[in-house]
Structures are given as C-alpha cells and as structure tokens.
C-alpha cells in the first residue's frame, strides 16, 4: 500500500504541474482563480495520501487547515478580484 500512496501522490503532483499552465495562460482573472482552486484540492489529496503513508495524524490536521484556508483565500479572491478592471495587468 505504501508504494501506492506515494506513487499516487507523485501522480497528483504531476497533475498539478500540468494545471499550472492554466494559471499562466489565463486568459481571465476567473480562470486563474479556478486553477488555484484546483491547486488547493489537489494539495489536500496529496497531503492525505502522505499522511496515510506515514500514519501521521498531524498531517491530516495540515490537510484540514489547508481545506479551510483555501476556502478563505478563494472568498478573498472572489470578493476582491471582480472589482478590478481587466486592464490592471500592468507592472
């Protein structure tokens, strides 16, 4: 089982790497937020797999905090991002 957990975690990490493309590409603000949402969920799954592999309860707490904070960040993004004009993209 150990091997399965670790390989699935690896697989999800690779999955996450591919999803990064959408953050880079956009095109809109919403697409980027969406991709960030995917990052959060995937990270929770990876954490739970690692937690099971190490039989560590603390890592499940980390996953719990992740799940909670991902929601808070997402709300902060949604609340704030829409008030911005699309052309704010200038450094």
């Amino acid at each position: 089982m150990q091997m399965l957990y670790i390989s699935l975690a690896l697989f999800l990490l690779a999955n996450l790497a591919v999803g990064m493309w959408r953050v880079l590409r956009g095109p809109g603000v919403a697409d980027r937020m969406l991709a960030a949402q995917l990052f959060g969920t995937t990270a929770v799954a990876i954490l739970l797999l690692l937690a099971e592999a190490a039989k560590s309860n603390a890592l499940r707490d980390v996953a719990l905090v992740f799940a909670l904070l991902a929601a808070v960040t997402a709300v902060a993004f949604v609340k704030r991002a829409w008030s911005m004009p699309e052309a704010r993209d200038i450094d």
Partner: protein, 97 residues
Amino acid sequence: MIDFFSMLFLLAGALFFLAGTVGLLRFPDLYTRLHALTKADNVGLGLMITGLALQAESLSVAGKLVLIWGLVLLAGASVAYLIARGALLRGVLPWKR
C-alpha cells in the same frame, strides 16, 4: 479485501483528478472549465477519501477525513457559484458552438 477496495477507490479518484485537469486545459470557456474542474475534483477527492477512510485506524480519523471532504465540497461549490455569477455579471459570455 479492504485493501483491494480502497486501492480501487484511490485509483478511481486519481482518474477523476486527471479528468478534471484535462477538462481545465481543454474545455473552451470558463463555464465548462468550471464544470469540469469542480465536479471532477470533488468527486475525485471524495473517492480518494473513501479509499483512505477504509484504511483508517480509528473512527475519529475517518471522521476527520469526511469533515475535510465536506469542507472542500462546500467551499468548492460556493466558490464555483461566486466565480460563475461574477463572470456572468461582468458579461463573460458562455461558449456557443
């Protein structure tokens, strides 16, 4: 026996994650991507959590896992709604063939 089932759930979950990512990359507009992502992801996580809960050493661990899933589900659904509503209000048009 339990090992076999939980392995099945885990692999199925991973498959849904893959589908979600493919959808995020390949679908043509925001709303379809939203659909692909939240559905696939949350189901994927749900399957994985079922698989892991089968292995859990105690009921409290299983409970924590289910709580995590519930939170992700709730947040995912609300945020998807908020994003979609925001996009519609701002005039991002749904894709038509």
